[in-house]
Amino acid sequence: MLVYIIRRSLQSLLVLVAMSLLVFAGVYAIGNPVDILINPQAEQLERERAIAELGLDRPLPEQYATFIRGALSGDLGRSFVHSTPALSLIVERMPATLELATAAMLIAVLLGIPLGLWAGVKPDSAGGRAIMAGSILGFSLPTFWVGLMLIMVFSVMLGWLPSNGRGPTSELLGVPVSFLSLEGWRHLALPATNLALFKLALLIRLTRAGTREALLQDYVKFARAKGLSNARVILVHVLSNILIPIVTVIGLEFGSVIAFAIVTESVFAWPGMGKLLIDSINTLDRPVIVAYLLVIVAIFIVINLAVDILYSVLDPRVRLAEAKG
């Protein structure tokens, strides 16, 4: 078990290094690092000073080393617009994005798995077909448009929910969160639902496919032969088998939800990392862009690693085999 964890961690480290090389290459070798890291509006003298300071006149490998050293100590440059360290800007916005992503994922899971189970157990019923049709809509509808429609219906026409911003937040362990207050929930509701939609459709389809396949297995027939109630057969036997691959998908998709949040945050003006990225792209605040990229790549790699380890823990066949070997 330990061997497996170590092996996977080393692999992840490798990918992280590779990605840092790519980002570095993109910024320093392909793009014009001078434009990226130095405010284009700076004066000539300042530019030359900054170039020397940042070591942009040094050979590339040395620049890469500096880059890595900076990254490891948390220095990823300074934002042009805000004049604060880029990394701290991102870290400041992270809780908002993570909260949104978590809420969206929760909605997708709590609705998606039961609906998918239903569609899998009764595929030819009216309900089953409706669920599948709904799921096609779910991943066909472009997220941003659904967001707009949600605003149109719930904010403009019905006036029930606010259309943008995060509203007042409360503190939890020093981190600002929204879910502890009703007002926070009202602001969270629309963006979280919007973000959840695509994943919800995905989970429904995944669960349905897994359920249909599981129902054909011998252990289901044996369970029925024991005289177990239909509910128990499905909720214990089928669910326990399909949950393992589904949990891994959920884990992997969480990273993608954080990325998709970029769009949702823009539509709903939710003050998270994603909105920061878009603003930065528009204002050409490149250090922030670079910082964002590195952070999100790191998040991704950590999530992938965690999911891999989780899978090996959950599946008794893998867990016990690894324990032996």
Binding site: V15, A18, G26, V27, I30, G31, I136, L137, F139, S140, L141, P142, T143, F144, W145, L148, M149, I151, M152, S155, V156, S163, L216, Q217, D218, K221, L252, G255, S256, A259, F260, I262, V263, S266, V267, L277, I278, I281, N282, R286, I289, L293, I296, V297, F300, N304
Partner: protein
């Protein structure tokens, strides 16, 4: 032994039909898929003949009158024509703008998918043919790229390359090629193991021939399915990028840009500027997905009865 409790030897035999005819028949058996196909056909047709059917050329500034701006659907213009779907903030007829926008969205989606298909197909076949470490490395790259969400890659590319139609297409191609490479390589893997490839190699047939005559036709069914789904995904992604202001320039207003234009007017109740382009986008993507779903079922050899 995991089949349901049923007797063996029940398969009906449908020999005697050509594969194409059988595929077509299977496809048309599902009314929902037929509906999708018809809808898609109409949309493509409208896009192609847009200049002929739209009431107004929305980008000819001479035809616009600012007085007509932001009129609700059904209003009548100063010159007598009806704005069936309302007008936007420049006085453009929404219906015309949508038809032209459809053209651009579909064109960008199709071109990027086609290019990505070519590149992915070539690289995938090459990797499969060369085998060994080259193949493993190539597939690792593909896997890593596919593990990152498309939107992220797109944004990175746009941030690095800058904006513009060519760059958007380049970004879309860069995102998509990996799907095709992986699909092709997967199919090629299966084919490679088959005995006739061994035999052909023994006969010292030129490798290109093996690749084209044998590997390629067997890769086609899954490729077609992936390509269809990807066209929809490319269209959606381009729309998202344009909405964020990072996609096509305003000289090539795709549906995404139209929606973005109308964003600011949502809160004041002028929904039609965003709503109708959105519906057009929605119908396009849904119809493509319906067709793709059925194609997937029909071309899947494991579901053949």
């Amino acid at each position: 032994m995991s089949a349901p409790a049923g007797p063996r030897g029940m398969a009906g035999d449908r020999a005697g039909e050509s594969p194409a005819a059988r595929i077509a028949a299977d496809f048309l058996a599902n009314p929902v898929a037929v509906f999708g196909l018809v809808l898609l056909g109409c949309i493509v047709l409208l896009a192609v003949i847009a200049p002929l059917v739209s009431p107004q050329d929305p980008y000819d500034l001479a035809q616009l009158d600012i007085v007509d701006a932001r009129l609700p659907p059904g209003s009548v213009s100063g010159s007598g024509g009806t704005f069936w779907l309302g007008t936007d903030d420049q006085g453009r007829d929404m219906l015309s703008a949508i038809l032209y926008g459809l053209r651009i969205s579909l064109a960008v989606g199709a071109i990027s998918t086609f290019l990505a298909l070519l590149i992915g197909l070539t690289l995938g076949l090459l990797a499969a043919y060369l085998g060994g470490r080259v193949e493993t490395l190539a597939m690792r790259v593909v896997d890593i790229q596919l593990s990152f969400p498309a939107i992220l890659i797109a944004l990175i590319l746009i941030a690095v390359l800058g904006q513009g139609t060519g760059k958007v297409i380049a970004a879309l191609v860069t995102i998509q090629w990996a799907y095709y490479a992986r699909t092709v390589r997967g199919a090629a893997l299966v084919e490679r193991r088959k005995e006739y490839v061994e035999a052909a190699r023994c006969l010292a047939l030129p490798p290109l021939r093996i690749v084209f005559r044998h590997l390629l036709p067997n890769c086609l069914p899954p490729l077609i399915v992936v390509a269809t789904v990807q066209v929809a995904a490319a269209i959606a992604l381009e729309a998202t990028l344009s909405f964020l202001g990072l996609g096509l320039p305003i000289t090539e207003p795709s549906l995404g840009l139209l929606i973005a234009n109308g964003y600011q007017y949502l809160l004041s109740g002028k929904y039609w500027i965003s709503f109708f382009p959105g519906i057009a986008l929605l119908l396009t993507i849904v119809s493509i997905n319906l067709v793709a779903d059925q194609l997937r079922d029909v071309l899947n050899p494991r579901l053949q009865r």
